[in-house]
Structure formats: structure tokens, C-alpha cells
């Protein structure tokens, strides 16, 4: 062993080999770094003299595909920057922002469950910068967040009923269809761990004389639905599978998802029930003290742009929030939410946040017992 590889000689053949190897490595490293720098935009080509990377927290899956196509790529081109979309649970982002603030590394955080109000109260996100985000002035009043002190929602979504157009006739108009004996064993219910399940509970409470702050009527109505249900699913793909195989013909879920399923060719449509529905919005909020605050506001403004919103509606099935965004023709038919916004009510984000754990435990006990 020691004859082949002398340990204390500086000059032998192996040492030269090592030196050459190190040299080769450093050349390689230089090339890699140069390539990486070359691919990142230098800043002078886009609008506003921005440079660097904008880190955006997002929801993942097919949503991010749509976001990438409709928002990220045109934004990168316009401003000559790089956008890094990070998939992360909202609850996790909140925990990280609370612990580390801007050091958590996010510039923009997207919310869908109303947590932006809480984030603002905790001082984690910036107040609305109307000078950069000029499109905020055209937002639908229902899109306003924290009395207009922070960025408004850039897209509307609601929880309603996805139904099989061949098997469910007439098209559903109210939540009652879920407990209709005609569809016994053919109904899908989202678990409370997803927003749609939470909204279903609130809707049930609302149509039975309660609401977010008096949830009991919602829980009282739940067993009748469960009696009819085939599955209480915890994610969209499971529901898609059940719908695709016609194990269920009715399901409660989000309008955007219903739109995408219809676009993929499943014989389904989305219906907005006449009463009790929850309107919720997707918002992009700017993390306070982030290195790219101004660029982050450009991102917010970009998502509030009417043309981008219509493109996003077409691609992902969310309704625009900008009053100047026009939804017409075929899109309007596939997007019933766009004409139902006025009769839907947002949920009380604060009550939801405060009660979520208790509701979840109560829900789980009812669902698990059947």
C-alpha cells in the first residue's frame, strides 16, 4: 500500500495527477458559474432597471403550470428578471414568516384561504403600494383585502358542485342535491383539510341559519350528506379518479378545478349553488423587508392587469377581479362564477383561522364514525 502512494513526498506522479485534477475542476467550476451568470438576465434589457430573482411562494401542481405560462414567463420577459416559483403550503409559509420574516427567502407569498389579513396584522406583509400597483384601483370591491390596506385579490374562486352532465339532470342549483336519495352512494365530499371542505362546512352553516361564528348548523347538516357519500377525499386527484370512473357523479370542489376537468374532456361542469356559497380570492402579497420589494409590487400589479387576468381565467378557470377584465362567449359559459360573484359572500378569515383546529377535530370525529 504505502509503496504505491507515498504520503510525504510532494513531487511524485500521483501528486501531479491530483494538481491537474484540481485545475480541471476549477476550470469546470468557472465554466458552470459563467454559464449560470450568463443565463440570468443582466437587468438592462427589461423595464424599470430590475435585476436578480423574485421568489414567489405558490400552490403547486397544475396551478403552477398555468401561473408559469400566463404570468411568470411574460413577467420575466417584460422586466428582464428571473422568477422562482416555490411550492409550499400556506401554513408552512406563515410559520416561516413568523419565525424569520424576510429572511425566510420569499419575496411574494400567494394566499388562497384568507390568511393575508392575519399576515398583515402580524406585520409580515407590506401595505398596498398604489404607486406601483396601479391596477389595484380597478379591483372589484369584493376583492379588497384588509379594508384595501393590502393588495387585493387577483382571482376569484368559489366552492360549488362539480357534476357529471350525463348522469345528473337537471343541473344542480342548490346544496340540497348532495343529500338527494337519487344520488345515494354517488357523492364525493372534500375533507376539511382542503379549502373546499372548509367552505362546504361554512356554506352548510349559512344555509341553515348559522355562519362562520355559529358553525353548529353546518355540523348538524353534515351527517345527511355523509349518508349519501361514496368518499370523503383529501385531494383533487382522488376526486378526479372517482369522477372519471363514475364512482361518483357529484362532488363538492373548487370552480377552478371543475373548469380544468371540463377542459381536459371529462363530461363535467361546475355549478354555483344559489345560496350560502363562499367567495374566496387568490392574492399575491409582498413580504415586508424583502430585498426585491419594488419588483414584488410590479408582480402584484402584473397579476391585477385585466388582460393577464382574462388569460389566466382561460388557462386555469379562475374569475378575474379587475372590473375592466371582460369574460365573454364560451369562457363565460364554462365559468359560471364570473357572473355569480355578486351573490357570493367571502368567509370571515379571522373566525376560520381561530376555529380551524377545533372544526377539524369535530369534523374528523363525525366523518370517522360513520
Amino acid at each position: 500500500m504505502s509503496r504505491v502512494c507515498p504520503q510525504h513526498t510532494g513531487g511524485g506522479k500521483p501528486a501531479v495527477g491530483r494538481r491537474r485534477f484540481v485545475a480541471a475542476l476549477s476550470v469546470l467550476a468557472t465554466v458552470v458559474v459563467a454559464a449560470a451568470c450568463g443565463s440570468s438576465p443582466s437587468g438592462s434589457t427589461g423595464d424599470g432597471g430590475y435585476s436578480g430573482t423574485l421568489v414567489v411562494a405558490s400552490f403547486g401542481g397544475s396551478f403552477d403550470e398555468a401561473l408559469n405560462e400566463v404570468v411568470v414567463k411574460p413577467f420575466e420577459k417584460k422586466y428582464g428578471v428571473k422568477v422562482e416559483v416555490v411550492t409550499v403550503l400556506t401554513s408552512e409559509v406563515m410559520a416561516k414568516l413568523r419565525a424569520q420574516g424576510a429572511r425566510a427567502g420569499y419575496d411574494v407569498v400567494q394566499f388562497s384561504g384568507g390568511q393575508e389579513t392575519e399576515a398583515f396584522e402580524l406585520g409580515l406583509i407590506s401595505p398596498l403600494n398604489g404607486e406601483v400597483a396601479t391596477n389595484a384601483a380597478d379591483a372589484n370591491p369584493a376583492a379588497k383585502r384588509a379594508d384595501g390596506k393590502i393588495a387585493p385579490a387577483y382571482a376569484f374562486n368559489t366552492t360549488g358542485i362539480i357534476y357529471n352532465t350525463d348522469k345528473v339532470r337537471p343541473a344542480p342549483t342548490s346544496w340540497d342535491v348532495l343529500s338527494d336519495p337519487k344520488y345515494a352512494g354517488k357523492v364525493g365530499i372534500p375533507d376539511i383539510s382542503v379549502t373546499a371542505g372548509q367552505n362546504l362546512l361554512i356554506s352548510l352553516a349559512r344555509i341553515n341559519g348559522g355562519g362562520e361564528s355559529s358553525i353548529d348548523p353546518g355540523f348538524d347538516a353534515l351527517p345527511a350528506l355523509l349518508k349519501n357519500s361514496r368518499s370523503v377525499f383529501g385531494d383533487g386527484p382522488t376526486m378526479t379518479q372517482l369522477l372519471g370512473q363514475e364512482q361518483i357523479v357529484l362532488s363538492v370542489f373548487d370552480s377552478g378545478y371543475g373548469y380544468l376537468l371540463a377542459k381536459k374532456g371529462l363530461p363535467v361542469r361546475f355549478a354555483v349553488p344559489d345560496k350560502g356559497g363562499v367567495l374566496y380570492g387568490l392574492t399575491s402579497q409582498v413580504v415586508k423587508g424583502g430585498a426585491q420589494e419594488k419588483l414584488a409590487w410590479e408582480w402584484v400589479n402584473f397579476q391585477l392587469d385585466p388582460q393577464i387576468q382574462v388569460a389566466f381565467a382561460e388557462r386555469a378557470g379562475y374569475a378575474p377581479t379587475n372590473a375592466k377584465a371582460k369574460v365573454e362567449g364560451e369562457l363565460k359559459k364554462l365559468l359560471p362564477l364570473s357572473s355569480a360573484i355578486d351573490r357570493l359572500e367571502p368567509s370571515d378569515a379571522k373566525a376560520v383561522a381561530e376555529n380551524r383546529a377545533a372544526w377539524t377535530e369535530r369534523w374528523n370525529k363525525i366523518v370517522g364514525k360513520r
Binding site: 403550503l89 401554513s91 408552512e92 406563515m94 410559520a95 413568523r98 352512494g185 375533507d191 383539510s193 361514496r230 368518499s231 370523503v232 377525499f233 383529501g234 382522488t238 379518479q241 370512473q245 364512482q247 383561522a353 380551524r356 383546529a357 377539524t360 377535530e361 374528523n364 370525529k365 366523518v367 370517522g368 360513520r370
Partner: protein, 311 residues
Amino acid sequence: MASDRTLSPETRERTTAPALSGGERGRSGGRRRSRPRAWLPLLPVTALYLVQFVLPLAVVAVTAFQTSAGPGVITSDLTLGNFRKVLTDPFYLEMLGRSFVLALGTAVLTVLLGYPIAWALARGRSWMRTVILVVVMTPLMTSSVVRSFGWMVLFDPESPILRFFGPLADERTGLMYTMPGLLIAMAHVLLPFMVLTLYGIIDRLDPTLEHASLNMGAGRVETFLRVTFPLTLGGVFAGMLLVFATAISTFVTPKLIGGTQYRVLATEIYEQSVQLLNWPLASAMALLLLLIAALTNFVYASLTRRIPGGG
């Protein structure tokens, strides 16, 4: 071992050879110099183990005694409340019981299914071995999500295979969200571990022992029950322990097959830690699960010591 007395000297040497040569190596190497060298290669993995396992586990152990003040917020007030909640609320207690029954049931089921397979693998013709190996190993190479989605189709109330399960299946949901369904899906996932463990033991078993038994007038069944099976019991227990420990902590299959209606502790830990951010409660559940696994391990180890060929 009673059967040792009937063995030829040659056979005895074969069965004990590995132990002897190992001892010899240790002696000839010289203790002073070989000892540091023995732990040196373990250094990287020990460091990794400390950072990746011991440290996080210590954090979990501490967190389990802290108090949750809302989602994602922990106060350092020490409490036994998290454990009390899991151990007194019938909802969580039932989940704990389910996890245990599921793990034990899967272990038993994989032995029943895996023993004949391992036997055929060890004693069958070579083409048969290839076929069996491929069939047994395929589940390991498939994503557990895909595998579970397959079962979801088969467990549907309208599925043709459900007729064979009759009263085990639920009228409305079939085998979905039921213990039998979970057991089948879990046994499918973990069968390879059992088969490979048993295969190693059966393959090493000296066929002359069985020949001797047959020669002395025992029938095939008696030979199996009194010679072959007892000699492979060590493998049976090792395989069961492996399957049990894996099954009690498995998350994906119970999440998809048990869903939201039939929860086990592993899926509840996920929900509490990732969805509801009640880390103290999740930590307490995790510790309890670990405790069950450790206790089972201990009981098994003491049982195995009394078994010929085990330990």
C-alpha cells in the same frame, strides 16, 4: 438443538463454520490495532445518524411536552396534556389501536403469504425462481401512490373481486376505508421484505437435515413441522419484525386506502404536523408510536432468544 446429535460431522461443521472463522479473524488481527480501525469507517454514518436522527428525535421528544398556542406556535410551558389527549380521547386511542392491529395483521398476513413463496423461491427450478422474483419484486419498483390507486379501483363496491370478500366489504364503500382493505394493500407493499428475509433463511437450510428426517421415517408434513419450520422460525420472526416496524409507520398507503374516514396514527401525525401545525400533539403521537414499535421489538427479541435458530 436436538437434531444436532443426528448430524454427520461434516454437516455440523458447515452450520457452524461462519462463527468459527469470524472468531479466528478477530484473534489473528490483534486487538490493539484492529479496534480503532473498526470504528473509524463507522464515523461518517454515525455523524449522519446523530444529525439526521438522534437530534431531530430529541427535538420531537422535547416538543411532545410543550404546549401548542395556536397553529405553528409553541410555548415552552411543560405539560403532559398532549399525551393525555391521545390516551384518553377514544378518537385518538382508537387510531393508536388501529395502527397496532394494522402492523401486526400485516406481519401475520405477509408470513402466511410469503412463506410458500419463499419456499418455492429457494427450492424451485431456476426458471421458476426468476418468475417469482420478478413478480415479488415488482411492487417495490412501483410508486406506492400508483399501487394504491390500483387497489382503489379493485376495492370499489362494483368491482368483481369484491365478491370473494363478501362480508368483509362495506356495502357502500367496498373495501375502501376498511381494515381488511388496508391489510391487503399493506401486505402487498411489504410482502417483498418478508419473502426476501425468509428466502435467505430457507435457502441456507441444509437439505440433508430434511433428508435425514425423511430417512428416519417422518412424513413430509411431520418433517416440515418438526424440522424445517422450527429451523426457519428465526427468519419468520425477523421478517415479522421488519414488516411490523415498517407497517406501523407507513403513511402513503393508509392515507390513500384508509382515507379520511379510516385514520391511523401515522396519517394523523401528518395532519397534525403539516395541516394543523399542532407540533406538540403530533410529537406526542410520534413518541407513542415509537414506544409501541420499541416495545414490540423488545418482546420479540426476548421471544426470539428462546427459539432454536433464532436471535
